[in-house]
C-alpha cells in the first residue's frame, strides 16, 4: 500500500488549517532567523552535536516546555468543548484525537523530558562527575526521544491523529476498528522515543554506580540521585515490556498478525495487561524523581538535613518493588476473579505506606526548620496537601469492589490529575526555579514566579476538584458532550474556567523565562540558595568540565559541611590536572533523522521506502563502530583561566534569598 499523497494533509477543519499555517510560518521564521543571524554553525556546534549532559538536559527541558504547550492546548480544547452541554465546537472524532494526544504528550513528551532533563543537568553534578557514563549514548537518547516526539506531533496535521486513547486499547486500536493510519503513529513514534528512554535508564544506572566522587558511598548520595537511580532501574525493567507490546501492535496493524485481535486466537486483554505492566511502573518513573526534587528543595529551604534519610531510601526501593505488582488495578473491571482483584487491591493499598512515610519525612524536615518561602519552596509546600488528595482518592480507587463504580468516570480522571500535577508538574516547576541559576547563570524572577505559582495552583484546583464530583454523579471520561438534563453543566463550566486560570499561570511562567532571560541580573553567586549538595559547589552556569578538581565527600549534604569548614573556595592551583572530555558528535542527530524518516514511512505503510530508509540506521551503527575518537584533554592553563573568572567575582555576588 503506497502513500496517498493527496490525502496526506488533514484538511477541512478551520482549527487544523490554522495549525498547519502556524506550523509552516514558524518553520519559515526559524529558518530565516537562523540564516539572518548566521546561527547555523552555532546551532550545529553548540547544540545539535553536543554530548555535554547539561546542554542535553536543557534541550530536554525546552522540549518539555514546548510539549507542555501542545498538551495544554489539547486540554483547553477539551475543556472548551465540555464547558456547556451539547456544544459543537469539536466533533466526536476530533475530541477522541485530542484526548488521545493530550494523554500521550503529557506523560511521555512533557513529564518524561522535564524529569530526564533535570536528571541530566543535576545528577552528574550532584555526584561530582564530569559527565554521564556514556555521553554520546546520552545524546542519542535525547535525539531519539525528540525524533519520536516530533513524529507523534505531526500526526494531527499529516495523516490524522491516533484516536484510541492514550492507552490504545484493543480491539479499538486494531486495524479492524481503526483502519486509518492515525494509530500507526502511536505504535511507531512511541517505539522510537521509548528506545531513547531505555538508553537513558542504562546510562544513569552506570553513571550513578560507577562515577561518584571519592568518599560518596550509596548512603551519602543526595536524595535526587537516589530517586534517579531507582527510577532508572524501573525504566530498565519496565520499558522493554512496552517495546515488545508496541512491536506486537505494529505487527498487528501493519502486517496482519493476530496478537491482540478478537479473531484468530488473539487476546485483546493481553494488550491491556502488557500496557499496564509497563504503564504502572511508568507512573512511578515520573513520580520518583519528582519526590527527589521535593526532598532537595524542602531540605534546602528548611535549612535542615532531610529527616529520615534511611527510611526515605527504603521507601523508594519499596515503591519501586510494589510498582511492578499493582498493574491489574487499571482493569479490575475485566474481572479476573476475586483472587486476582483482591491481590492487586492489597498491593495497591500497600503503596500508600511507603508514600505516607515520605510525606511525614518531608513534614518532619520542615518541622522547626527556618523555612524560606521562595517560589521553589512554595511548589513543594503546595505539593503536600494536593498530592495527599490524589493519594487518598487513589486508595479509594484501589478497592476493587468500589472501583466498579468509579471506573471510567471523571472521578478517576480527577484522581490521576491530582497525583500527576502536584506530584510531577509542581516538582518540575520547583526544580526549574531551584536549579535555573545553575543551568543559566541567572535566576527566574521570584515575583513573577509567585504569580505563576498562585495562578497555577488555584487554576489546577478549580479545574480538577469539580471533576471528582462530576465523576461521582456519573459523568464518564472521554465523552465529547453531555445533555443539559444530566445536570453536569455547572460543574463542567467551573472546571473550564479553572483551566483558563491554569493556562494563564503557565503563560506567566513562559513570560518569566522571557523576562528573566532579558533582564535578570547576571551576577548571581554559584550558591544563591545557600544549598547543601555538590552541584552548588561549582560555577553558575557550570563550566563544561563541571569540576576543576573532583571534590572529596565525607558525609551527607557534603557541600553544606564543606561550607561550615570553610573549604569550598580554596582551590590550590597545583591540584589542577588536565581533564579528559568526550568529543562532540553529529551521529546521534543523524540517527534521529533516519529513525524519523523510517518511522514516517512505516506509519504510512510504505514498506519498501521504510526498508530503504532503515539502511541509514545500519549505516549509522557501522560508522559508530569504527569511531575511534577517544575525546580530548583540557589543558591546565585553560582550566586555571576559567576558574579564575568565576572565583574572582565571588566577592561581588549577592544572595537573592529572603
Amino acid at each position: 500500500m503506497g502513500i496517498k499523497w493527496n490525502e496526506m494533509l488533514v484538511g477541512g477543519d478551520p482549527l487544523l488549517v490554522g495549525s498547519q499555517i502556524a506550523i509552516v510560518l514558524t518553520v519559515v521564521a526559524i529558518v530565516v532567523g537562523l540564516t539572518y543571524f548566521k546561527k547555523w554553525g552555532w546551532l550545529w556546534r553548540e547544540w545539535l552535536t553536543t554530548v555535554d549532559h547539561k546542554k542535553i538536559g536543557i534541550m530536554y527541558i525546552l522540549s518539555g516546555v514546548l510539549m507542555f504547550f501542545r498538551g495544554g492546548m489539547d486540554g483547553l480544547l477539551m475543556k472548551a468543548q465540555t464547558a456547556r452541554p451539547e456544544m459543537s465546537f469539536l466533533d466526536a472524532q476530533h475530541y477522541n484525537e485530542i484526548f488521545t494526544t493530550h494523554g500521550v504528550i503529557m506523560i511521555l513528551f512533557m513529564a518524561m523530558p522535564f524529569l530526564i532533563g533535570l536528571m541530566n543537568v543535576v545528577v552528574p553534578l550532584q555526584i561530582g562527575a564530569r559527565d554521564v557514563a556514556f555521553p554520546q549514548l546520552n545524546a542519542l537518547s535525547f535525539w531519539l526521544f525528540f525524533s519520536g516526539a516530533m513524529l507523534f506531533n505531526i500526526s494531527f496535521v499529516v495523516g490524522g491523529s491516533p484516536d484510541a486513547g492514550w492507552t490504545s486499547y484493543f480491539p479499538l486500536a486494531g486495524k479492524e476498528f481503526s483502519p486509518g493510519i492515525g494509530n500507526n503513529y502511536y505504535a511507531i513514534a512511541l517505539q522510537i522515543a521509548g528506545l531513547g528512554t531505555l538508553m537513558t535508564g542504562i546510562n544513569f544506572i552506570v553513571t550513578i554506580l560507577k562515577m561518584r566522587a571519592p568518599g560518596m558511598t550509596l548512603m551519602k548520595m543526595p536524595m535526587f540521585t537516589w530517586t534517579t537511580l531507582i527510577t532508572s532501574i524501573i525504566i530498565v525493567a519496565a520499558f522493554p515490556i512496552f517495546t515488545v507490546a508496541l512491536a506486537l501492535m505494529t505487527f498487528d496493524r501493519l502486517y496482519g498478525t493476530h496478537f491482540f485481535t478478537l479473531s484468530s486466537g488473539g487476546s485483546d486483554m493481553l494488550w491491556a495487561n502488557l500496557f499496564w505492566l509497563w504503564g504502572h511502573p511508568e507512573v512511578y518513573i515520573v513520580i520518583l524523581p519528582a519526590f527527589g526534587i521535593f526532598s532537595e528543595v524542602i531540605a534546602t529551604f528548611s535549612r535542615k538535613t532531610l529527616y529520615g534519610y534511611t527510611s526515605m531510601v527504603i521507601s523508594i526501593v519499596g515503591i519501586a518493588f510494589l510498582s511492578m505488582i499493582v498493574w491489574v488495578h487499571h482493569f479490575y473491571t475485566m474481572d479476573a476473579g476475586p483472587a486476582v482483584n483482591s491481590f492487586f487491591s492489597i498491593t495497591t493499598m500497600l503503596i500508600a505506606v511507603p508514600t505516607g512515610v515520605k510525606i511525614f519525612n518531608w513534614l518532619f524536615t520542615m518541622r522547626k526548620g527556618r523555612i524560606q518561602f521562595t517560589t521553589a519552596m512554595l511548589w513543594a509546600l503546595a505539593f503536600v496537601p494536593n498530592f495527599v488528595i490524589g493519594g487518598v482518592t487513589g486508595v479509594m480507587l484501589a478497592m476493587a469492589a468500589a472501583d466498579f463504580q468509579y471506573h471510567n468516570t471523571l472521578f478517576l480522571v480527577a484522581h490521576f490529575h491530582y497525583v500527576l500535577i502536584p506530584g510531577v508538574v509542581f516538582a518540575v516547576f520547583a526544580g526549574l526555579y531551584y536549579w535555573w541559576p545553575k543551568m543559566f547563570g541567572f535566576m527566574l524572577n521570584e515575583k513573577l514566579g509567585k504569580y505563576h505559582f498562585w495562578l497555577f495552583t488555584i487554576g489546577f484546583n478549580v479545574t480538577f476538584m469539580p471533576m471528582f464530583f462530576l465523576g461521582l454523579k456519573g459523568a464518564v471520561r472521554r465523552a465529547y458532550t453531555y445533555s443539559a438534563e444530566s445536570g453536569f453543566a455547572p460543574l463542567f463550566l467551573v472546571s473550564a474556567i479553572g483551566s483558563i486560570i491554569l493556562a494563564i499561570g503557565f503563560a506567566v511562567f513562559c513570560y518569566n523565562i522571557y523576562w528573566s532571560f532579558r533582564y535578570a541580573k547576571r551576577n548571581v553567586s554559584h550558591d544563591p540558595w545557600d544549598a547543601r549538595t555538590l552541584e552548588w559547589m561549582t560555577a553558575s552556569p557550570v563550566q563544561f568540565y563541571n569540576f576543576a578538581v573532583v571534590p572529596e565527600v565525607k558525609q551527607l549534604d557534603a557541600f553544606w559541611h564543606m561550607k561550615k569548614r570553610g573549604e569550598t573556595l580554596t582551590l590550590k592551583e597545583s591540584d589542577i590536572k588536565k581533564i579528559h572530555m568526550p568529543s562532540n558528535s553529529g551521529l546521534p542527530f543523524y540517527m534521529a533523522v533516519v529513525f524519523g524518516i523510517t518511522g514516517f514511512f512505516l506509519v504510512f505503510e510504505a514498506h519498501i521506502a521504510a526498508a530503504v530508509a532503515a539502511i541509514g540506521i545500519v549505516v549509522g551503527l557501522i560508522i559508530r563502530s569504527f569511531d575511534y575518537n577517544d575525546g580530548y584533554y583540557v589543558s591546565v592553563d585553560e582550566i586555571k583561566q576559567t576558574e579564575r573568572t568565576w572565583r574572582n567575582v565571588e566577592g561581588g555576588t549577592e544572595n537573592h534569598v529572603g
Binding site: 493481553l270 495487561n273 479476573a336 486476582v340
Partner: protein, 99 residues
C-alpha cells in the same frame, strides 16, 4: 570465595555437583517410568539448579567489586521475569477474562 587456598575447592565441588545433576537428569529422562510432564518439570528444575550452581561456583558472581550488584541484578531480573510471565498468565486465565 576461595582466594586463600590454592586448591580450587569450589571448582571441584561445583564440577561434582554438575555431574551429579546431569546424570540424575539423564536417569529421570531415560529410566523413570513417569509421565512426560513430570519428567519435564524434574529436568527443568535440575537445569535451573545447575545454572545457579555454576554461576556461583565457576562464574564467581559474588566476587569482585561488582559482586553484590550482580547478585541483586540477577535476583531482580528473575523477579521481573516471574512477575511478567507468571503474572500475565494468572491474570489472563482466571475469572471472566478466561471465558
Amino acid at each position: 570465595m576461595e582466594h586463600k587456598s590454592k586448591y580450587p575447592v569450589s571448582h571441584v565441588v561445583g564440577f561434582l555437583f554438575s555431574l551429579i545433576l546431569t546424570f540424575v537428569a539423564v536417569f529421570v529422562a531415560l529410566k523413570m517410568n513417569v509421565s512426560y510432564t513430570i519428567v519435564m518439570w524434574i529436568i527443568g528444575s535440575l537445569a535451573i539448579i545447575q545454572a545457579g550452581l555454576q554461576l556461583f561456583m565457576f562464574m564467581h558472581v559474588t566476587e569482585g567489586e561488582d559482586g553484590k550488584t550482580n547478585v541483586i541484578n540477577m535476583a531482580y531480573a528473575v523477579f521481573v521475569a516471574i512477575v511478567i510471565v507468571a503474572g500475565s498468565i494468572w491474570v489472563l486465565t482466571s475469572g471472566h477474562a478466561a471465558h
